[in-house]
């Protein structure tokens, strides 16, 4: 694309790359060509005929949205011929449009309204009754279609076809009777269906939740971020009189490409939920007493200090959250590391370390790579917008896709190579791939037998194919989900990344695609037992002292979240502060977690929703959470963006509560004015965040500098737990799961699935179970009911259970974050 082509539009010269459309070239010099059917993400189509322009030496008018630039082209967009055509086309478009603008939800932000004002004939010559079609018809529980208003621009059907690639929405019928609909009138309920509301240039596709609630000009829009997954898509939260109204996309090509998933658009009911924690309470004599939040924060800090003085700093712990903002987590790190002097900080149950041995890739690199290697990740359920980006890269940018996973995912359909390893054998599978690459490079290999098919379920030949695919690619983007890896596999994965990086002329980068909002930020902010912020190992006391001042490094090794529960069980841990986490549900073995938490003398829960953990707390602090809070978050691509406040609240912001705790204990209190004061401080102290400031992250955010990982030695393969009865359990993430965020009253409730377990054919035969049977998963003395689905979603010897709700209590079945065994049996017949 080095060649630039010079063209003239309305006597203004412009130089654009070859292949640019005239409409885009005009946009570049500020000339507007009206369009309806053209959308920059959907490509040329040319059906609305609104963008007709005159090109010299062309016999008739041409559509600017389909015409690519040609050398020395002379385009006129305002000639009498063009104006006549625009008026004519608009008259046709409006011929059977109902003109119910005062009632229409699109009124005020409607391209048809705008174009009619600017280019329209001003009057209609239609003397017949306008055609009547179906008014408000539900297309799905969240989208309502008004077929009368549709101008048949086919943006929505093309979106369904090109972007989400479901081809769920289609044009039905022919000629004047054509209309948007679905096959057999089935509901249009894909994961990304809501985007058609934004791209509809008229009010035909409307948000059922927002219908008739407010006029668009009455909304207070705040440019905020989605807080559901690690993509951190940009969105606009519209509110009126401090009431939540709607979510719209806010295109940012570096992150979301202009789309958001349905969970982002319709899954924001929780911000006005009754289950929110709105006031601070203290357990006094078995009764919760309400008090001032900041006063309770001070008391909490003092009681934590008391326990530290009495039992030592190892007796307290902090379980943070991958959902908090960088500022909040940074302040908690300060409180626990420097004010209270403990390393017991963690935010997760799996094992992960900050930093990568290769480049940290972002979303754009998915498109520019030659090969995307997905490891243990299911973007469709975990990170939907990354899923769209991968689909775009594979189908439209010619990128290859290789998948190494323990379950079948939606992307397998378009993958060049998809290998499925046995559940729990991820470490060996990764080692096998690393070894077959290392063999050719003649570098150090992982010891032990890795190529045997019986170990991983992948034949050596197939693994060689994968290695060949990786080796021949010029640029590899590895997307891995640390949360789906078992045990210490993450070290093997980082070894694999290192090996790929050693291939000559290879560009390699990775996206650590953990499915939580800010898990990268949580690691960067040092909410880890063994790492300070910026990936500085706590054992590296010299470096710690250098960054944080002398005496900052702590001698003790911190406890991980699961170890903290162990210590609480044994009585060694006296106090625990849980910040926006729900260990009772999200940690393995609920009974033990509950009994451990009950043994604590102080359990502080700082959360935004009432949870099973907050019920056990001695002190509850309110957290504002998405919608009300503000701060920065770091997405999986390392982009730091600002999450703006959408609604106002009387409650103190989280950073104020935490800084109150710090200030009430320290001699030199630091008063922060806004969340940006914290951002400013952390940009000075956290390595990698030095360029993050209010200004630099303003619109599109800023990528934080890469954090180096400790140059590790070649890891050894851990012992394979072959002992165990029954099948290996793999809990799969589900996008629309019934949890604290999406409850039964959510508009997305129709997406909730019943409790299901996926078995391989062989196992099903052995257990004498067939599709649709009721079965019971049993382990740890706990039984979970599920419906059997016999599929080849996993290799034999395992059972995949999607986590469909909190009530399902799936994690009760597991004991640790490595391999867990469950028994699948038939329910007893009574």
């Amino acid at each position: 694309m080095s060649e630039d082509i010079n063209i003239t539009i309305n006597d203004q010269p412009v130089s654009v790359p070859k292949g640019t459309l005239v409409v885009e070239a005009a946009k570049k010099i500020g000339i507007e060509i009206p369009v309806f059917c053209y959308h920059e993400k959907l490509g040329p189509f040319g059906c609305c005929r609104m963008c007709l322009v005159e090109v010299e030496k062309m016999p008739k008018l041409t559509t600017a949205c389909t015409q690519t630039v040609m050398p020395d082209m002379v385009v006129k967009t305002e000639s009498p011929k063009v104006i006549k055509a625009q008026q004519g086309v608009l008259e046709f478009t409006l011929l059977n449009h109902p003109l119910d603008c005062p009632v229409c939800d699109k009124g005020g932000e409607c391209p048809l309204q705008n174009n009619t004002f600017k280019y329209g004939p001003g009057d209609t010559r239609m003397e017949f009754d306008r055609a009547n079609r179906d008014k408000a018809t539900p297309l799905s529980p969240v989208i309502t279609i008004d077929r009368e208003r549709c101008i048949a621009c086919q943006r929505c059907t093309r979106y369904s076809d090109i972007i989400e690639q479901e081809s769920a929405l289609v044009m039905l019928n022919r000629g004047f009777n054509n209309e948007v609909g679905t096959f057999n009138n089935e509901p249009y309920d894909t994961k990304y269906s809501g985007n058609v509301i934004d791209i509809c240039p008229v009010g035909a596709l409307t948000n059922t939740q927002f219908r008739f609630k407010a006029r668009t000009w009455d909304l207070d829009n705040s440019a905020t971020l989605c807080a559901h997954c690690g993509c951190n898509c940009n969105m606009t939260l519209g509110s009126r009189t401090n009431k939540f109204m709607r979510i719209e996309t806010r295109p940012n090509d570096l992150v979301d490409d202009g789309w958001v998933c349905d969970k982002a658009r319709f899954g924001y009911d929780f911000i006005e939920s009754d289950h929110r924690i709105v006031e601070a309470t203290n357990l006094v004599d078995g009764e919760y007493k309400v008090a001032k939040t900041l006063e309770i924060a001070r008391q909490t800090a003092e009681s934590l200090k008391k326990i530290v003085d009495e039992y030592g700093p190892e007796s307290i712990g902090f379980i943070g959250s991958p959902f908090g903002t960088n500022e909040e987590l940074y302040l908690y790190h300060k409180l626990f590391r420097f004010t209270l002097g403990t390393n017991n900080l963690d935010h997760k149950i799996y094992i992960d370390t900050p930093g990568l041995p290769v480049d940290h890739y972002d979303f754009l690199n998915v498109e520019t790579a030659n090969l995307v290697l997905l490891i243990g990740s299911d973007p469709a359920e975990e990170l939907p917008i990354l899923d769209l980006r991968i689909k775009k890269a594979i189908t439209r940018k010619g990128v290859k896709l290789a998948i190494l996973n323990d379950q079948k995912t939606e992307l397998d359909k378009i993958a060049d190579l998809s290998l499925m390893y046995d559940v729990g054998s991820d470490e060996i599978a990764l080692a096998a791939l690393a070894n077959s690459l290392a063999l050719e490079l003649d570098i150090e290999m992982v010891e032990g037998e890795t190529s045997d098919e019986s170990l991983t379920g992948i034949a050596e030949r197939r693994m060689k194919e994968m290695a060949e695919l990786v080796r021949t690619a010029m640029k590899v983007c590895v997307v891995y989900n640390p949360a789906s890896l078992t045990g210490n596999s993450i070290f093997m994965l980082k070894h694999l990344l290192g090996v790929i990086n050693k291939i000559p002329t290879m560009e390699c980068g990775a996206i650590p695609a953990a499915p939580f909002t800010n898990s990268l930020g949580a690691m960067d902010m040092g909410i880890l037992p063994d790492y300070y912020p910026g990936g500085i190992s706590s054992s590296d006391s010299g470096k710690v002292d250098q960054v944080w001042g002398d005496g900052s490094s702590l001698q003790s090794k911190g406890l991980s979240a699961l170890e903290m529960i162990d210590k609480a069980e044994s009585g060694e841990l006296k106090a625990l502060l849980v910040y926006r986490n729900n260990p009772v549900i999200d940690f393995p073995d609920r009974k033990r977690v509950e009994s451990a938490l009950k043994k604590l003398s102080l359990l502080v829960v700082h959360d935004m929703m009432k949870t099973e953990t907050s019920v056990l707390a001695t002190t509850v602090l309110p957290s504002n959470g998405p919608g009300y809070d503000e701060g920065t978050t770091t997405n999986i691509g390392g982009r730091v963006q600002y999450r703006k406040r959408g609604l106002n609240t009387k409650n103190s912001p989280d950073w104020k509560i935490i800084s109150k705790m710090i200030n009430s204990l320290s001699e030199k209190p630091i008063e922060y004015l806004t969340s940006f004061s914290v951002t400013e401080e952390l940009s000075q102290t956290v390595p990698g965040y030095s360029e993050i400031s209010k200004k630099s992250i303003k619109k599109e955010g800023k990528t934080r500098e890469k954090i180096e990982s400790a140059n590790g030695v070649v890891p050894e393969i851990g012992k394979v737990e072959s002992s165990g009865q029954g099948l290996k359990l793999r809990i799969a993430e589900q996008l629309f799961a019934k949890d604290k965020i999406l409850d039964a009253s959510s508009p997305l409730a129709h997406h909730f699935l019943p409790s299901t377990l996926c078995l391989h054919k062989k196992d099903a035969l052995k257990l004498d179970l067939s599709n649709g049977d009721q079965a019971i998963l049993a382990a740890n003395g706990v039984e979970v009911k599920a419906i059997v689905e016999v599929s080849n979603r996993c290799n034999p010897g395992a059972v995949i259970v999607p986590r469909v709700s909190d009530d399902q209590g799936l994690l009760r079945l597991s004991r640790s974050c490595s391999v867990n065994w469950v028994e699948v049996k038939k329910p007893k017949v009574e």
């Binding site: 008259e91 046709f92 011929l95 010559r125 017949f128 048949a152 000629g175």
Partner: protein, 113 residues
């Protein structure tokens, strides 16, 4: 010339407006509905011709019909839109008197009233 690129020979007993109406009905039915001028224009032309044929027309409508033809021709996605224009436009061009005859009765009624 009448029809899409073809020559249709009719004798003098044929009502030209009715023939144009029949052909515009064909094109309305045949339009795929992808592009706006063809989808909306063919139907509108049919509606107007239907009015004229049924004695409800006016000379203004014939002028409007000519303008619709102008708005449609060479502005559609495919040639069906252009073809739909041809019979109507050429029938007005060559047989305007037939249209006027159908309209005359009505307008004289209006003047007397």
């Amino acid at each position: 010339m009448l029809g899409s690129g073809a020559l249709i020979v009719m004798d003098h007993t044929v009502n030209i407006v009715e023939a144009a109406l029949r052909m515009s009905y064909f094109y309305m039915h045949e339009s795929c509905g992808k592009c706006t001028p063809c989808r909306e224009g063919t139907r509108w032309m049919y509606q107007i011709l239907n009015d004229i044929q049924n004695g409800k027309g006016s000379s203004k409508q014939v002028e409007k019909l000519e303008d619709i033809c102008d708005n449609m021709s060479f502005k559609c996605f495919c040639a069906l839109g252009d073809a739909a224009v041809a019979p109507v436009a050429s029938s007005i061009m060559h047989f305007r008197s037939d249209y006027d005859e159908l309209i005359k009765n009505l307008e004289s009624d209006e003047v007397s009233a």
